[in-house]
């Protein structure tokens, strides 16, 4: 479970990225974080990943109070979270297989188990035939699928995706969303997006952020900015 309790994130120049945001996300829930650019979506994800520490308020992930400055289990926390970054963060000098395997290598998994898990993840994102290919030979959609495979491989309990369809055409965007749909119920999924069509069609819980504040929390929501 992820709990945000009156979380505020203020940057050094004084601007608020989040302002007293409170919500709870249950295990294996599928949630969209929506809102215009600068609403605070990425900040929420970075706070969950403990890339940022809140200025005030409490954040709990699986009973760990990660908002404390003295929180020591950052490695354990990050090993439970898979992230699909907005800029993919795919390493160009590694093959597709090696990029996905990175998530497992860092936790010290055996080579045989890594092979098994990576093949499974690549099957899930329909990239089984591209495992030996280098990223520069892939399209944007394929790169995004590699990023998803890297985020879901192994036993990661939470999947965070920051604008996973941001740079993709509508057809590829839908293919990506189908992959997320396949993962539903297997782990907690939080997707930051401002793609109105996708959010509205998926009919999942929607947390609407605007200027750092949580405006709406709708169970089977739609993306309405008005």
């Amino acid at each position: 479970m992820i709990i945000f309790d009156k979380v505020t994130k203020k940057f050094p120049l004084g601007n608020f990225a989040l302002n007293e945001v409170t919500f709870e996300i249950n295990d294996k829930e599928f949630v969209f974080l929506v809102g215009p650019s600068g609403a605070g979506k990425t900040t929420v994800l970075k706070l969950i990943l403990r890339e940022f520490i809140p200025t005030s308020g409490t954040i709990k992930v699986n009973d760990w109070e990660i908002s404390s400055r003295h929180f020591k289990k950052i490695l354990s926390l990050r090993r439970k979270i898979g992230v699909v970054f907005q800029d993919f963060k795919i390493l160009n000098d590694k093959t597709v297989f090696e990029n996905v395997a990175l998530s497992l290598k860092v936790i010290g998994m055996s080579l045989n188990k890594i092979k098994e898990e990576v093949k499974e993840a690549l099957r899930l994102v329909n990239l089984s035939d591209k495992e030996k290919v280098f990223p520069l030979q892939l399209s944007a959609g394929e790169l995004q699928r590699v990023a998803i495979a890297r985020a879901v491989v192994g036993e990661r309990e939470i999947l965070l995706a920051d604008e996973p369809t941001g740079n993709l055409d509508p057809k590829t965007s839908w293919e990506i969303m189908k992959i997320f749909k396949r993962l539903e119920g297997k782990r907690t999924i939080i997707i930051a997006s401002h793609n109105v069509d996708i959010v509205n069609s998926m009919q999942k819980r929607v947390l609407l952020l605007k200027e750092g504040k949580l405006i709406k929390d709708i169970k089977k929501g739609r993306y309405e900015l008005s």
């Binding site: 990943l49 403990r50 890339e51 950052i74 490695l75 354990s76 926390l77 990050r78 090993r79 979270i81 898979g82 992230v83 970054f85 963060k89 390493l91 990175l102 998530s103 290598k105 860092v106 936790i107 890297r150």
Partner: protein, 298 residues
């Protein structure tokens, strides 16, 4: 190994600068280490030599020398006195110059002086014994060994202090140059490090490839500098042989353990290599630690 070579190929100049810095530092450190070992060996050797040696004029009768020996033995200040006759001195000379027939032809036993080698019971008696001998008739020269030991000890202490200071400077310089070279490499992999941090890689996992490469460069630098030193030692062996002529062995004493420094022994060379390896790998790890530190803040 594949990853190490790939990283070296990716940044060849940084790798070369890291290698050369390590190579010269290790080479100089090993030269300092070997020089100090020789000096300490020489000091230990000289300390085992007679503490006072008195040479007599060649026309002095043996009886007079024996009288002086007797007086010394009766003084209660002398542990032992050894008489070296002109004939014995000539035998020693022949032994030392067996490879130089020209020198042997020029000298005969009546040219060389007879001598007494005196070991005092306590070093404090040495000046007194030397003064007594200088006043005796027929005495040509009194060699007071303590002077030499003291001078060598002072020289060794100065050299040791200078070597330690130079060594510290060398370590600092090497660490700074290595840290800078590794930082360049890390900057090129900044994105990868950031990703690794975010997917839960431990600090050690992130440092591992840089450590591996530093260790590899360190190992190559240690081995190549050691081969160069051994080559130079063997190249200068004839010079050292003639310089240290008459000294059969030099030992470096460490508590109850003695290492033969000269003639060159495998154990001494092995210890020099291990010392260089330890030094090389230590500074490589320290430099890698400092270079990666700023990228590992979570």
């Amino acid at each position: 190994m594949k990853e190490i070579l790939k990283s070296i190929r990716r940044t060849p100049y940084q790798s070369l600068s890291a290698f050369l810095t390590l190579f010269f530092s290790l080479f100089l450190s090993a030269v300092i280490f070997i020089s100090l070992a020789f000096l300490y060996g020489l000091l230990a050797y000289i300390e085992t030599r007679p503490q006072v040696t008195v040479y007599f004029q060649t026309n002095v009768e043996e009886n007079k020398i024996f009288k002086i020996r007797e007086d010394l033995n009766n003084s209660g200040k002398v542990a032992s006195v050894k008489y070296i006759s002109q004939k014995e001195a000539f035998e020693i000379y022949k032994k030392l110059n067996k490879d130089n027939p020209l020198l042997l032809e020029m000298i005969s036993s009546d040219i060389l002086p007879a001598s007494l080698e005196i070991y005092a019971k306590k070093p404090i008696f040495l000046p007194e014994i030397a003064e007594y001998l200088k006043k005796q008739p027929g005495v040509d020269e009194v060699q007071f060994q303590k002077d030499i030991v003291d001078r060598l000890l002072t020289l060794t202490n100065i050299l040791r202090t200078a070597a330690i200071s130079f060594f510290i400077f060398l370590i600092l310089m090497t660490i700074i140059v290595l840290t800078t070279s590794i930082s360049f490499k890390i900057a090129l992999r900044k994105e990868e490090i950031e990703l690794l941090r975010l997917i839960g890689a431990s600090d050690f996992y992130i440092r591992k490839p840089f450590l591996k490469e530093s260790f590899f460069l360190g190992f190559i630098a240690v081995t190549s500098s050691f081969i160069l030193i051994v080559g130079l030692l063997f190249y200068f062996q004839p010079f050292l042989n003639s310089y240290l002529r008459g000294i059969p062995h030099l030992f470096l004493s460490l508590d109850n353990f003695q290492i033969q420094v000269w003639p060159l022994s495998l154990i001494f060379l092995g210890i020099t290599y291990i010392f260089s390896l330890f030094f090389g790998l230590s500074i490589s790890s320290i430099a890698t630690y400092f270079a990666t530190k700023k990228y590992l803040k979570v």
